[in-house]
């Protein structure tokens, strides 16, 4: 083998171990799942024994009202948590982007929820939501207000609140970082141009933060579609199907209903949805880079 050839191949040789691990830990299970989703497959069977049923699992799901319900719950959950978290997170960042005493302490405290394990968050909120001894209802009692059936009638709202509590800090720190990297003098110029605090936010700060906000929003959306632990601990999907998000339904289909093929098909639907979001995110960053390159090229052209 010539030296040039070895040189050309060496990057691939260095990458090989990583590729092998990826293949074993990601591609293989993924392929297994896709293969399994075309079969009527019980946990007691090996995949070879399972009967091949073509697209039957996908079609069944497509027509299954429970799956629709679960998909709707997931979409609702993702929409509400992400939009509310964006508003609160960005709002907090805008409020706390200033130098006053104790601000760094406050910022550190605000990001604490993000550092707590989701299972612990679930347990904590389950205790606080408890109908008789929970913090919320006892507070309502002492104020003389009627109790709220947090994890019953308002289960979806309650899990949304818990998720907002945990994940708003994520948006908050990313927005704050974006805010603090804005050009100071452009904001000063806006003040001199006559912009009120509110107009500075609308016309200068938010547009300049937008690239970061869009990526943050997509990251949170991807996460929100996969959420499991907090809801599992808080409600186990109930009451009824009211909080049964897709991840939870997939796990129950596989373990309780013992239908591995259907669970695999459902996973693939979720995967497709997430892939769309991810591709959207990449497309957005690519578009931005292309635009920046075009603008730079224009500047060089006539200088």
């Amino acid at each position: 083998m010539s030296i040039a050839r070895v040189n050309r191949l060496s990057p691939y040789m260095f990458m090989a171990p990583a590729v092998v691990i990826m293949a074993i830990a990601l591609i293989y299970p993924l392929g297994y799942m896709i293969w399994g989703s075309f079969r009527d497959w019980a946990p007691s069977q090996t995949i070879g024994e399972a009967e091949f049923v073509g697209l039957k699992n996908y079609i069944t799901l497509w027509n299954d009202p429970n799956f629709h319900e679960s998909l709707t719950v997931t979409l609702k959950f993702a929409f509400f948590v992400v939009s509310i978290e964006m508003v609160i997170g960005v709002g907090l960042a805008l409020l706390l982007d200033r130098d006053i005493r104790g601000m760094s302490m406050l910022r550190t405290m605000l990001i604490l929820p993000m550092m707590i394990a989701p299972v612990v968050v679930g347990l904590m909120w389950r205790y606080m939501y408890h109908p008789t001894v929970g913090t919320f209802n006892r507070t309502l009692d002492s104020l003389g207000l009627p109790r709220v059936d947090w994890l019953g009638d308002h289960a979806l709202m309650s899990v949304i609140i818990a998720d907002i509590w945990q994940w708003t800090p994520f948006i908050f720190i990313l927005s704050l970082a974006a805010l603090q990297s804005l050009p100071r003098s452009a904001l000063e110029a806006a003040r001199i141009d006559g912009a009120t605090a509110w107009q500075q936010i609308i016309y200068i700060k938010l547009p300049l933060m937008m690239p970061v906000l869009i990526v943050t929003c997509l990251l949170r959306l991807i996460d929100a579609f996969k959420v499991l632990e907090v809801i599992l601990v808080l409600t186990e999907g109930g009451p009824g199907l009211s909080t049964e998000i897709l991840a939870l339904r997939i796990s129950r289909t596989a373990t309780e209903f013992r239908e591995l093929g259907v669970a695999a098909a459902m996973s693939n639907y979720l995967l497709l949805l997430l892939m769309l979001l991810t591709v959207g995110m990449f497309a957005f960053t690519r578009w931005q880079e292309a635009r920046a390159a075009r603008i730079r090229a224009l500047a060089e052209e006539d200088s």
Partner: protein, 363 residues
């Protein structure tokens, strides 16, 4: 246009006081340049006038109105920043019209205004471009156009040319000078570059260490600097300073130091009498020394030429006189050779005397 008056203006950052009671009055239609080395408080003063920094003590008056409690937008001023401070997400036309759009002016009026100022600064072909797609000089023009479009009475410049390369800086300086004659506004301009100060200003305010050292027309400051700092700061190459004593002999007054003894005549001789204990600093600008082999010792300095810097029509000689460096500016055609000791006559009007303790000019 309103008169701007600073009344004992003080700025403190915590314990540190950076401005010590600045008193300044800027007349109608005047181009005032605040100049000084970095850290002298010139930018802070400007930013306090703009309302971007709080006033710790004292007051700023625009017209007769105290304004230090007002927001920048309520002070009727426009500002050009050192790094241009353009809005990167808006195109040139949107940048220029931002203030007008905030004021909710009618669209037709905004369009006319944008076209007018773009024409004035030569940006008509670039109105649709984003700042990222402009060169440094073009961005500078956008910043200028944006300030012009606002139609305010006061125009503030914070080192607007310092991010440009030398050639472009010279060109923009000339354009600025032309623009300042065309538009009738009160302009306050901050720079550390004494050439910008000299060429642009109706009035120069030299600042150092948070104090105003001297203010006046460029000519006043150049010809009659109030102290050693101002004398050394304005003028390029800078003034030469020599430690000296006043001596009297046969009714004639001399200023003498290591390697020189100059006779003082008339008014200068009278000034010399005011020096405390006869100890002075003698200041002579490089351009006030002229090569003259025949000159008498009483009217000339005898200098040992160390280095010659050729800069075209003129050359700057770095010389030595009794252990002190002295610079001489002279015509490049003058035949001088390195290593020689030569006589240079001193222009009698170019002799400046400063008190050695206070460094104030004798007057």
């Amino acid at each position: 246009m309103p008169i701007i008056r600073l009344d004992s203006l003080v700025k403190r950052y915590g314990e540190v006081q950076v401005l010590h009671g600045i008193e300044l009055e800027m007349a109608d239609n005047e181009f005032t340049v605040l100049v000084g080395p970095s850290g002298c408080g010139k930018s802070t003063t400007l930013r306090m006038i703009a309302g971007l920094e709080d006033v710790s003590d004292g007051e700023i008056y625009i017209g007769d109105k105290p304004v230090s409690h007002l927001e920048p937008k309520d002070r009727d001023l426009a500002m050009v920043f050192q790094d241009y401070a353009l809005y990167p997400h808006m195109n040139v036309a949107q940048n220029i019209s931002f203030a007008l759009r905030l004021q909710k002016r009618p669209k037709s009026e905004i369009d006319t205004k944008v076209r007018d100022v773009a024409d004035l600064v030569g940006l008509t072909d670039f109105l649709a471009r984003k700042p990222g797609a402009l060169s440094g000089g073009q961005r500078q023009r956008v910043a200028m156009a944006r300030a012009l479009a606002k139609d305010s009475g006061i125009f503030l410049f914070d080192e607007p040319l310092s991010n440009l390369d030398a050639k472009l800086r010279g060109q923009m300086r000339a354009e600025l000078a032309m623009m300042s004659q065309r538009v009738e506004k009160n302009m306050i301009y901050v720079t550390h570059d004494q050439i910008e100060a000299m060429t642009l200003a109706d009035r120069i305010v030299v600042m150092h260490g948070g104090y105003i050292q001297q203010q006046g027309t460029p000519e006043e400051l150049f010809k009659r600097p109030a102290n050693r700092f101002v004398a050394g700061f304005l003028g390029s190459p800078p003034m030469n300073f020599l430690t000296a004593r006043i001596q009297e002999e046969n009714g004639q007054i001399f200023v003498a130091g290591q390697g020189f003894r100059l006779r003082l005549d008339g008014a200068k001789a009278q000034l010399a009498g005011k020096a405390k204990a006869g100890e002075v600093i003698l200041g002579i600008r490089p351009s006030d020394l002229r090569f003259d082999a025949e000159a008498s010792a009483e009217t000339s300095l005898s200098l040992n030429v160390l280095v010659s810097e050729y800069i075209g029509a003129q050359s700057v000689l770095l010389c030595e006189c009794g252990g002190t460096n002295v610079m001489v500016e002279l015509n490049s055609e003058t035949p001088v050779a390195l290593g020689q000791t030569l006589n240079f006559t001193v222009n009698p009007n170019g002799i400046h005397l400063f008190d050695q303790q206070s460094e104030e000019a004798l007057s």
